[in-house]
Symmetry: C2
Subunit: 186 residues, 2 copies
Amino acid sequence: MQTIDNFYLNATHMLLEPGPVVLVTTAYQGKYNIMALSFLTMLEQNQPFLLALVMGPWDYSYSALQKTGECVISIPTVDMASTVVEIGNCSGSDIDKFKKFNLTPLPAKEIKAPLISECLANIECQVTDTSLVKKYGLFILQTVNVWTDPDRKERRMLHHKGDGTFVVDGETINLKDKMVKWPEYL
Amino acid sequence: MQTIDNFYLNATHMLLEPGPVVLVTTAYQGKYNIMALSFLTMLEQNQPFLLALVMGPWDYSYSALQKTGECVISIPTVDMASTVVEIGNCSGSDIDKFKKFNLTPLPAKEIKAPLISECLANIECQVTDTSLVKKYGLFILQTVNVWTDPDRKERRMLHHKGDGTFVVDGETINLKDKMVKWPEYL
């Protein structure tokens, strides 16, 4: 797992804009937790890179995120599909999910929540706006550091259809030559 | 294009949770417009079905959405990839995009913004919360009607990586048997 130079922090939106299911880690009262989530969007693709993420008070991670203001967004790939669903179908209130699913926590750089070594990428985030948390569970986060595993061979992300079925990344289409209005993102 | 019975309105999250690039239509001062967008997330998957969508004041659709409080979220498929990028790289301020891209507007049921006949699905939305529009361009919307084209053969959605490259839907993995905690979504 290598940290990405700050200059390339817009790696965040290249990772998240396609809408993958993600794993979110928190550290609260000396306890790590992980949840699976796909209610997430980029909010701002220039610095500071902002995201909006949705959790509910029924999620064990909700109060950890509220209390600590920090989380890591980890991006799993197709080989981890079963693990992702199982993580989403048990609660951190009674299980150490790192242990149960044989995942390896690694120290982040700027925050206390851990990276997941087995994932394709890890994005360290800090909560910057909680004004819509009570009403919708919507947290606004700022990306503070991004890590990737450049040696990882499997790079196909998963997209949850909400019912336990997932679409896997297929072919890539390159239409950069038509991006005439947004040359700064090429 | 067929409207989906209200009972199945959670079709919304089956369509949007995977994170496709979408086309957003508006109708303002007798003029239709279309923009391409992928800063979008589900917010609430029970009734009322809520979404959060991000636009900037530099988008011509931004003021139309602000003034009318209505839009249609249309979901294009892989055969429309070039059109999607071209729609995102010109402005409705000087172009009628329906005409330019040979797209067919159809009347929606609950709102004035048009459906796009050529898309896989169309979701009629009404703005319900503008409290974070000024700060982040974040509109909160409620789904009021959903349409799909059940006869459409091409159903693979596109996921924008932010730089003019798109990942196309690949295979589907079915892990419903592991969704033990959320039987209501199976």
